[in-house]
Amino acid sequence: MSFLSNFEWSQNIFYLLAGAMVFFGFFTVVTKHILRSAIYLMSVLFFSAGIYLLLGADFLAGAQVLIYIGGIIVLLVFAVMLTRSADLAEDHPPLTRKLFGAAGAITFFVVSAYLIEQSPLIIEKSLPSESASIASLGKSFVDIGASGYALPFELISILLLGVLIGGAVIARKEMRTK
């Protein structure tokens, strides 16, 4: 999987993907139509899968496309359809809220960016060559050793089960016994 990872032309692919993500990311939150915003989100996720591939986390890219785009965006679209919030298409928040929201987001961005610049962690380093293989990723899920993630793996499955049942119970029609 190294063909994507040689250094110099992967740099400009990254900039391409990043540019697209920024473009679509911006529009997801700004657009008045909820449905379009869902579509833009889908494209942002799609390009971020690209970045994972760039960084060699190809299983994750696959998972991303599968779960996020396949599952969550579809769910969101269903929700939009079910709740007829489509007629609420024009979601234009009052100006004051927009201003405050923008102010909050921008200050957050500026402060964190400044902190990142200062932080000694991100030393300028080129993309290292070797990367972990998917086999080691798979083994880690079942490895009950110190560095293994068996327990969280089991937990996450129980969680998902709980959430599934919970979601069904909440969204059920009123009980007739009332």
């Binding site: 939150v29 971020s48 970045i51 998972a63 079910l82 961005f109 070797e130």
Partner: protein
Amino acid sequence: MLRQIVLLSLFLFSTGLYGILTRRSSVGLFIAIEMMINAAIINFVAFNRFLAPSHIDGQVMGIFAMALAAAEVLVGMAILVMLFRQRKNTDIQSMNSLKH
């Protein structure tokens, strides 16, 4: 390269934040939340790749984060459906009965 990725994810996170603070419809809210979670996963993968290439912890965290995001949206949608059935609209600003 790492710096640019982190900046990118920061940008995504902030736009998600803007989305949460301004969206009126709850679905828009969820969209913004998904975006923020995705920004976090990008960070995981990026730091794993640049700082500890031989390990896989970053990616494992990414997968778990994705699972949680899915769970979260599911519950969110269930509540949304309930709310919609009772309130007939999904506008967040009108749901302020918990005020003083």
